[in-house]
Amino acid sequence: MRAFSYARAEDASAAVRLAGASARARYLGGGTNLVDLMRETVEQPDALVDVTALPAAIEARSDGSILIGAGASNTAVAADLAVRTRFPALARAILAGASGQIRNMATVGGNILQRTRCTYFYDDASRCNKRAPGAGCDAIDGFNRIHAILGASPACVATHPSDMCVALAALDATVHLQGHGGSRTMRLVDLHRLPGGRPHVETELQRDELITAVELPALPFAAGSTYRKVRDRASYAFALVSVAAALDVGPDGTVRDVRLALGGVAHKPWRASIAEAALRGRPATADSFRDAADAELADAAGLRHNAFKIDLARRTVAATLEGLAGGDRT
């Protein structure tokens, strides 16, 4: 691990100021990903700005929305009664990720900005365009079972590892940011980038821009939302495919509204807008769910070891929606 300076920020403005004083500063939350990457020298910050003193409150507002301080631990969010009742998909996504110990350490801001678990990204004996731009990618022709099937590029096939972000993407979450130029908000689905030719640029954040909070807008039918994760072991493993979904079925049995996002399939949490559009106004039946999943996955492309994920994603989407529709299999 390379040497670094350390400072603890008392508020967001101080954090941005402190980060601006160094060439390669990183914000430090729980450290569960950053410390590991620093030990592997994948991350080599010259300064750490500890942001764990920043607001961690979870504010359940009377209009049905919830504002979550970026410093809140993953455990605190999953345990919050308002989150559990208004947005169970978010609580379930967090609880499906990592271990109890890591959820106690990890913050909401850090979870959003965690980096891929592509093994070639971690291994500095391998070529990786994300770690060393222009070096090439050893995952594309390597062991790529866990890699992307949607939105990948010839430069990078890594996936975003977060479960939490998949629920946030489905639930139209907004991220509050503070930077050198002031504060702004951004939709979570716009925060992460697809790899294209610059996979080392992973977000739309500006230099030293800090996530201060995450806001979930009111969505009454999200009270029935859920998160389903498929992985190689029953607990404490990253997703092969995951689905966050909320479904609103009218009294006539047609889909009034739907929110759908996929994890484990792309460089960013994948909002399934094509499937959503295909479902609105259609009967809430297994056929409709399968058609919508097929439409979303129409452009999916498999690599040598991960082509199974395309069918897995289709089936997981359909099964999750069937579960929300009350097990209707007609």
Binding site: S5, T75, R84, G100, Q101, S235
Partner: protein, 169 residues
């Protein structure tokens, strides 16, 4: 840097890169906490901070100044072993013992989480209510602690007997 370890105030002059795990073992000579994977995958390094379980290998020591850190050395009381330690012996909750300090600290933190109603991935109803630590709940909540000897059945029995309300009799 100033720390509070097992109720004792200690000072240590360490490099900023020092993890809480290396602080405990290399600088404070508390060898109970183990280094397994050193990347948050095995749980052998689990300690309690203000009662919450964390992986000390992923924790930079500098962030844990003036927090109450409890290691396996701090579990036993004046009158001998912590009841969970005794139960691990009685139920064969270990063979080689390397994961045991992490298992013990993790189980105590896990029981406190359940006590205050933190749900898990296998909790059927998230809407409210106390958590019942049945077999599935307990195994899911302890999944961050690996045991290469495979002493899981004994571990589950020891935790159930000691920390699950109403299961002691």
């Amino acid at each position: 840097m100033r720390f509070t370890i097992n109720g004792q105030a200690v000072e240590a002059s360490v490099d900023l890169r020092t993890s809480l795990l290396d602080l405990l073992r290399d600088h404070l000579h508390l060898y109970g906490t183990k280094k397994g994977c050193n990347q948050g995958a095995c749980g052998a390094c689990t300690v309690l901070v203000d009662g919450n379980r964390i992986n000390s290998c992923l924790a930079l020591a500098v962030q844990y100044q003036d927090r109450a850190v409890t290691t396996v050395e701090g579990l036993a009381g004046e009158h001998g072993l912590h009841p969970l330690q005794q139960a691990f012996i009685e139920h064969d909750g270990f063979q080689c013992g390397y994961c045991t300090p992490g298992q013990l600290c993790s189980a105590i933190g896990m029981a406190a989480e359940a006590e205050r109603g933190v749900p898990s991935a296998v909790t059927a109803d998230l809407s409210a209510g106390p958590v019942v630590l049945d077999h599935d709940e307990l195994r899911e909540r302890m999944s961050g602690n690996l045991c290469r000897c495979g002493a899981y059945n004994g571990i589950v029995e020891a935790i159930t007997q000691t920390l699950v309300t109403g299961a002691a009799e």
